[in-house]
Subunit: 293 residues, 2 copies
């Protein structure tokens, strides 16, 4: 990979040289596929290989586009680790059976892909519903149904607390403490938690909850909080280093809690998605060295 | 006031008749002046009087526009209660002395206006700063400076936790529990907390923290969480009943904790601001009866 020396999406000159394949500082870096959303799974795998990124977190849609068996074969032969699989959940809606069936399919896919963890975005409040406690109870109830299946398949469910900005429409799970309160009802092998710096950085309890989480930490995701929040609030995630989240401090905290796994960069951002994928990955790698490890 | 029978800003027919002046169901309702932002203080006072709203929460800018002494006279002669005074705070920036001086002026103004509570929005992270713990420490430090002055003037500082969406730019105080952890360092007469349904509705700990708050609750503000979040995230607040927050449930919780004060409706919303002030107040009154009391 050539060093573009230009950061994405800021367009500013890179602060440090791009680490090259084989650089030990990249050893724990993983590219969540959503960061290079326009790429197919094959393109994302090839991009990681070119850049020396040793792990990838695939998403269900591009896996389906390729076909599950072919995707599993590609990943097995790629030399890349699979850090997580995104995503399932959405357990709060009215059609419980359809949701559980879809989650079981996602568990099967994760098992086939060799993903250690299936990321769970639990779902928001149905329209017109103000019963948050009820929605949260449905999450616990749905998980109880899925846990035996997940254990059988050897897939860990990773409960992801989302920023409270998404409580109404995406996840009634808003803090790491709340995720742990739920996870602790189940075996650690079956239910862990996802720590995503973008979602948890603001939480006054986050450091004590990370310490509490310990071996429950299924994956650490890195992403920055940037302003302004865009028209589509889902796409407001920034390249690490461009915003306010202490992504490195949170990484040190998860490590201190015993986490030794991948550091997966997941950025939903229209400007990042418009950019050249190799330039995105090069920026991700530089920022990882500069701000995270 | 005539019943417009049209809700603001939805434009839909009103679900119930507008409660008329003297209706006991309006006894605890207060209009935060920001809800009718285009009105002067004199216009807002007159609007409340026409609608039979017995209390008002003025803002500093319109008070300054009128002149403090004239505003105090207007409010004293209006027959309205002053429920709170908005707002001071912003204690996290680099110029500590200027911030403290401005807060002392706001305390003086609140005392002159007879406001029982000065709402404190504590401030966000300075640009380029990722040290949340440091910013939070500056809030505690600033409060310690202000508390003797507030006690002397008989004004209670109301710490307002803002939705975590505003942690970077407006308030590093994000949860009621965190606000209480800070408030409890000071006498209850000097430092209370603001419970605003818009900011706290998502919090999995909010009901236990309201119970804990007890007499620390300085003011309950009512506002709904609506989607989508607009381009200016500050203006995404909805008319009570239009969104996802259980504004009535939270009102019952603050009452159960011992709160008997005003229920102040504060809505930052461009569409509400564009509408006729009397129509806004009529909608506020109807929604108060329908969803809050």
């Amino acid at each position: 990979m050539t060093d573009t020396a230009i950061d994405v999406p800021s367009g500013k000159p890179a602060a440090i040289p791009t680490p090259q394949p084989g650089d030990p500082r990249l050893a724990r870096l993983s590219l969540n596929q959503a960061t290079v959303k326009r790429w197919t799974l094959a393109e994302a795998v090839a991009g990681c290989q070119r850049a020396g990124i040793p792990a990838i977190g695939p998403w269900r849609e591009p896996v389906a586009d390729m076909g599950l068996a072919a995707a599993a074969r590609l990943l097995r032969n790629s030399g890349l680790r699979v850090s997580s699989y995104c995503r399932a959940g959405f357990l709060t809606g009215p059609d419980r059976k359809a949701a559980l069936d879809d989650n079981r399919r996602a568990i099967d896919e994760a098992a086939e892909l060799g993903a250690p963890c299936l990321v769970m975005v639990v779902g928001g409040l149905p329209d017109g519903d103000r019963d948050l406690a009820g929605a949260r109870a449905r999450v616990v109830d749905g998980l109880a149904e899925l846990v035996p299946y997940a254990l059988e398949r050897g897939v860990r469910l990773g409960l992801e607390p989302l920023h409270p900005m998404f409580c109404a429409d995406r996840a009634v799970l808003s803090t790491l403490g709340q995720a742990l309160d739920i996870a602790e009802n189940f075996p650690s092998a079956a239910v862990g938690v996802v720590v995503d710096s973008y979602h948890v950085w603001w939480d006054p309890q986050v450091y004590e909850q990370i310490a509490r989480a310990g071996e429950r930490i299924a994956i650490y995701q890195a992403c920055d909080w940037v302003l302004p929040i865009p028209a589509d609030a889902l796409l407001g995630r920034g390249m690490v280093g461009d915003g306010y989240a202490d992504v490195g401090g949170l990484r040190r905290a998860v490590d201190a809690a015993g986490y030794t796994g991948d550091i997966e960069v997941e950025i939903f951002n229209a400007d990042v998605w418009e950019a050249d994928g190799d330039a995105v990955i090069a920026t991700v790698a530089r920022r990882h060295v500069q701000y995270v490890i």
